[in-house]
Symmetry: C2
Subunit: 360 residues, 2 copies
Amino acid sequence: MKFSTQDLTYIKRCFELADKGRGFVSPNPFVGTVIVKDGSIIGEGWHKNFGGAHAEVIAVESSNEEIKGATLYCNLEPCCHFNKQTPPCVPLIISKEISRVVISNLDPNPNVNGNGVKQLRKAGIRVDTGILEDEGKEVNKFYFKYVIEKVPYITIKIAQSIDGKISADKDVQTWLTGEDSVKYVHQLRDRYDAVLVGANTIKVDDPRLTVREVKGRDPIRIIIDGDLSVSPDSNIIKLTGDEKTWIFTSENSHQEKIEQFEKLGIKIFQLPADKKKLDLDGILKELGKESITSLLVEGGRQIFSQFISQELFDEIVILQSPKILGKGISAFETNGIKKLKIKKTERLGEDLKIVLVDRQ
Amino acid sequence: MKFSTQDLTYIKRCFELADKGRGFVSPNPFVGTVIVKDGSIIGEGWHKNFGGAHAEVIAVESSNEEIKGATLYCNLEPCCHFNKQTPPCVPLIISKEISRVVISNLDPNPNVNGNGVKQLRKAGIRVDTGILEDEGKEVNKFYFKYVIEKVPYITIKIAQSIDGKISADKDVQTWLTGEDSVKYVHQLRDRYDAVLVGANTIKVDDPRLTVREVKGRDPIRIIIDGDLSVSPDSNIIKLTGDEKTWIFTSENSHQEKIEQFEKLGIKIFQLPADKKKLDLDGILKELGKESITSLLVEGGRQIFSQFISQELFDEIVILQSPKILGKGISAFETNGIKKLKIKKTERLGEDLKIVLVDRQ
């Protein structure tokens, strides 16, 4: 199928609109809709928050013109199922007598997955699918993973020196990257449902894991802390009030300390543990149940090593500093060679961002 | 000074022409010349081999038109001194009544360094200097270093995994990079006067260090081997006949083995050594005396560590493979943090090339 330049322009506008929902609609997908008639956009919308109106509905409502005979562009297949918070979009599109629908991706949700398109076609509407399919999947990479596997899309973020070190010595904080990389990390936090670190990172770096360098909303902050050893005086624990700090700990952790943390507004998850080491699969399933569709893993070495050796990642983002540390601690240690694929590189001020994905 | 679009076009052509001399003119600079009259190129030339005619002379001779009144473009200031193999170019330019000369860089050679320009101006010729000055310096970066410091321009080339390892274990050869990177390394060898490795790399990898994957000429192959422990059965030693293998060893090495190697056509340099460790500065000065203006350091770990910790490099080229080794040997170990600057990045097939230089 060949799409026209106009089709490409309008579907890209859908991607832009979809992106505005990022950070607010989880576990729903990012969806943008454009309605076009006689070569002009007569309606636009995007899915703004979980449980709120769908992009298609907002686009229809935004229009002051006669929609009959128009073309509707949408990055994701319109929904057709009822077991959710809002009525399905397909009947609305049919009732408005829209004549053509252009879609990037079918909705991988088993409740939809082609059925929306089928119903539209049955109603005599021309439906063209697959326009900028890869770009559409990139926009909704969190959703595509989550809706099938019920666990979050995982990005491991590592800031390292040219010689692959994350710090000059054990348990020492070493600043490697420049201003632009720091901003980028805050942008990432704004876009992910949750960020995750190990207890040792809290002890050594004492981070807040909030979004400060850019405008944005804070993600859920997750700490893996088998024996609940994090200090109540840590910056992250002192961030009370927003109920956004979650700690995963062993079922054997002291009840007293658990209660102390819970009083501070920390949410505690207790899991079975083998020698205080928590099972990552168990944590990810738990996060899935909590509607966390995307997870940014920020360290440290033990956490990186566990996620990478268990191949629990969708993307690794290396923030490559132009510094030489000469000696020190590597970001992770694993067994066996693993081949990845460089998906993207980008200069971030003095640093270099390298995005790696599975070789497939 | 503002230069016209035409000026930029013609000086870029000079860079292209200059580049054709690469690999053949050392220790001379790379020089290209274009002669332009009435908006057309009427003569072109480049310096083709050491001791041969200069680019300006070849350009003048290549022209069938009347040169009087033309503009001569040259990436490097024309020479004006006599203590060398060919007569100076400045008198030729004056005698041909060229009316304007456009130059990227003054010749840093203390015998020229502005004197060429002065003589041209004294003869009434308009001379404009500094066009694409940085690009010109990049073309002649080997020469700019060598002519002042009398030691070669040093590029350290490291192929490493995402986690900064060069091999999975000590004394084990690990193939990390893909086809395009291998080709690039052969291109580098073709462009450098010499390549250098330590004796351990010969033992573990048994490389030939020749140019095979691309069309080109072989560089001088230098081995640092304090106790002359390299086997006569090594591939590199068996490459007899071209007289291009040089070994730097201690003055205490066995005379018998030295003679054995010399019979095979190997050139042996004996230097004072502290516990069989040779002084790199001494080696570089010796290479300078041998007119080696550019040196590609190819490893291994001990050699990298020595060059980097003594800050004996102008450029580090990282060939970043998308593989994870998980554990293994780092490319080098040094003391203290060193800040570099990313000069350039480029995709080489599956790999990523990162060029680093001093922060300045």
